[in-house]
Amino acid sequence: MSFLAPAAFVFAAAIPVVILFYLLKRKRVVKLVSSTLLWQQFLAETQASAPFQKLRKNWLLILQILLLLLVVLALSRPYFAAKTQPAQLRVVILDASASMQATDETPSRFEKARAEALKWVDSLANNDQMVILQAGANTEVKQSATSEKAALRRALQACACSDGPTRLVAALRMAESLVRDQRGAEIHLFSDGAVPELTEFDNKGLPLVYHRIGKSSDNIGITALDVRANPEDAHQRAIYTSVANFSTNTVQTELELLLDDRLLETRPLSIPAGETSPQVFLAGQSSDGVFTLRLKGKDDLAVDNQASIVSLLPKPIKVLLVSRGNRLLEKALRSVANVELATSSDLTDPAIGFDFVVLDGVTPVVWPQVNVLAFHVVNTNWIPEVMHLDGPPIVDWRSTHPLLRYAGFDNVQVAESLGAKTPSWAVSLVDSPQAPLILAGELGRQRIIWVGFDVLESNWPLRVSFPIFIANAAEWLNPANAKGGQLLVKAGDAFRLMLLRVEKEAQMTLPGGQVKMLKLDPSANELVFAETYRQGIYRVRLGTNETTFCVDLLDAAESNIKPREELQLGKYSKIAATTRQRTNTELWRSIASLGLLVLLIEWWYYHRRTV
């Protein structure tokens, strides 16, 4: 047996009160009378001699009937079906993003939202069902459709606010799929509306009820953070950040820069309302470390007042060029900053020790196990089928890929090339009508860029795009970079770490200091850690190697905690915040309490009237 409302056991506290009543002694007044004869007859006559007597007006009777009526009324569980039509299904989306931690509601927006949602659970009619979704960086189904209120309450209690951004679209999509074809179904969104634009979500008919949580927008936050070598002084590091003021007043504050908990600089800031102040810090750094930016002062949202970033000192990139002589390529490689270039005419070992290998038309005896930039080389492990193309025109290239950043193929002609069908591990970067000419991708633990043609068989080396492509390739193929880019994770996003060796387990140290052991699949080539709910510095230990990564909010949409009056859905539809309070309010608790009160009054009256 279980209880729908275990909280009602609090009413058991009334039992000692009743016992107390019985403990109270009735004090009788002793009185001398002439004779008790008449009294004896009186008692004998008033005692029930007949089973029935005439119904007389008696306040005790009226009170008892009132009590009974209240109990019956409470058992019938009345409610006010005031403003809503009965809904068969209600999908509750609880926004659990960072902005819900704002303390403009007491104790926080999230707790307020949870309390509101709990009220809606209470008001759920008997046959109606409810689904609880928690929308943070990921959407979690906390409770599938049920009408069991205890389970719904438990699910709501189990929801927890994270430091991540809101990905409301995913939650709405899920909710939409749940309510599709359900008559009368409603989606209840408990949120402050501090969400990215929902323009990609276009559903005019969505039965969305938006419960706005939150009052004010008093917040400043760090919305961007990056660290690089100072372009003007390679020995220094430049930390780029921007601080946004989302409150309605100009804010005076101080921004602190710390390196591994050591205070480096404090900078006073004055940011007008609604403005963003970009800041650049320059700092020397002798070893790898973590830069932390901290905003002094108090505002409604604390989570965005601090951000950390891992800064690794640049290491020289070791590159092996295997070529029969290609001065243009060699020159392009040497011009890339920080590159230590070695050349060879052939490759007889897996080239471990180099960061990547450039194969220029040479088919190696032993294929390298490190990252590879291959020109005009056929490896059937990579590309099962290679065709020969004569003067293939370049018709398209993927300019969004990091390898082709600033590198266009507008006036590049190729005399002769190998063409390949795009294998599953790679994406095509440059296309001719017949086949892709350049492919890039990851095969196993290797990053591979395959260029189908010999650069000397084209006019590409004469174009500006060539050295840029080489520089991009050096950056993309550098395993340190591949790692470094992932050392800053937005809260709620997964942290991924390439595994260079087979590891059985990893030890993850969370910002709070807790240690978590992660079991790794021997066949996995990367470590994926998705529980980045809290911002801060995480450390993962793999064997003897320790890697530090930072989880930050860095989301202007989240930091702008101004409660939105309406949500823009798609281009045209808007959902205004509802003023609707919970409906179908159940009254039985109040009635039961009233009944208890009547019971006490009855006792009091019974004792009073005899005096």
Partner: protein
């Protein structure tokens, strides 16, 4: 205890009354009451044929002149009416404002005075026979006993003052012995007559056998039941432990204003039972409250019921 039981105005008015007895007096003593006995008086009763030895003085010579036969004129013998008053002097009579006992003594005084004025013999029998020994004073006790003895037979209007004084000396106390007193009174009486019972009738033993004994002995019985206002409608409410003044019995009762009607109904039922008992036996019954005006009872109710005229 009031100084004088009856005011002089009341006495003056009472002198005009005469006790009415439905039955002929059976007393052996001469009085002013008509009796079945034939004797010497001015009231003619009957004729009787002369037999030898009759007194010639009572022959009707006029009749002899017409019929030439001797007839004797018979006259009614006028005799006294014995009036016995049973006065309840138990503890329960000391309750009420004014006290029930005082009211009972006033009624007894009035009835007694009327009887004395009519040359009737009055005897007052207080019960219980001996009051409990609350009076430690020996003098008061002997005065009490003397008064009780003196009240057993009073005759003549001249004895009125003494009669009132003796009544005034009586005190109340002890448990009521109504049945026993009435039965003994019926047995002791040499002649029946008028019996007046002045009591609250709140005797757990009841009253039936005593009254039946009086009726059986041939008494004409008048009953005045005296209850106090507190008994008719109590003024104390709440959780009570009531103590009986006569036998000390305890009775726990929870009494509120809402039960007042029920209580009054009980009292009325009690009175009604007594009344019906009396009506069935030709007893004059009066139920009064001790705060009732004495004149109303004496000058109106008793007259209306033809106790006196």
């Amino acid at each position: 205890m009031p100084e004088s039981l009856l005011t002089s105005e009341m006495l003056r008015r009472l002198e005009q009354f005469q006790l009415l007895a439905a039955r002929r007096a059976k007393s052996s003593a001469k009085g002013e009451r008509r009796s079945r006995a034939r004797g010497q008086s001015v009231e003619f009763a009957d004729y009787r044929t002369y037999v030898q030895g009759d007194d010639f003085r009572y022959l009707d010579w006029n009749l002899y002149g017409r019929l030439e036969r001797l007839f004797l004129k018979l006259y009614e013998e006028e005799r006294e009416l014995p009036v016995r008053m049973f006065l309840d002097a138990s503890e329960s009579m000391t309750f009420g404002t004014p006290r029930k006992f005082d009211f009972a003594r006033q009624v007894a005084a009035a009835l007694g005075y009327v009887a004395l004025c009519g040359f009737d013999r009055v005897s007052v029998i207080p019960f219980p026979a001996s009051p409990n020994d609350t009076q430690s004073d020996a003098g008061a006790r002997s005065a009490q006993l003397a008064a009780r003895v003196a009240l057993r037979a009073v005759r003549g209007k001249k004895s009125g003052i003494q009669f009132f004084q003796n009544l005034n000396t009586l005190t109340a106390g002890g448990a009521a012995t109504l049945n026993e007193t009435l039965r003994r009174g019926a047995l002791e009486a040499r002649q029946s007559g008028l019996a007046v019972v002045l009591s609250d009738f709140l005797d757990p033993a009841g009253y039936e056998s005593g009254l039946n004994a009086l009726i059986g002995r041939g008494f004409q019985v008048d009953i005045v039941q005296i209850l106090s206002p507190e008994e008719l409608s109590p003024t104390t409410f709440g959780d009570l432990r009531l103590v009986d003044s006569e036998n000390g019995a305890m009775q726990e009762v929870t009494f509120g204003r809402y039960r007042m009607k029920a209580y009054q109904q009980t009292v009325q039922n009690f009175i009604q039972r007594l009344r019906e008992f009396c009506q069935a036996r030709g007893i004059n019954f009066f139920s009064v409250s001790s705060n009732m005006s004495l004149e109303d009872l004496l000058l109106k109710q008793l007259r209306k019921a033809e106790v006196w005229a």
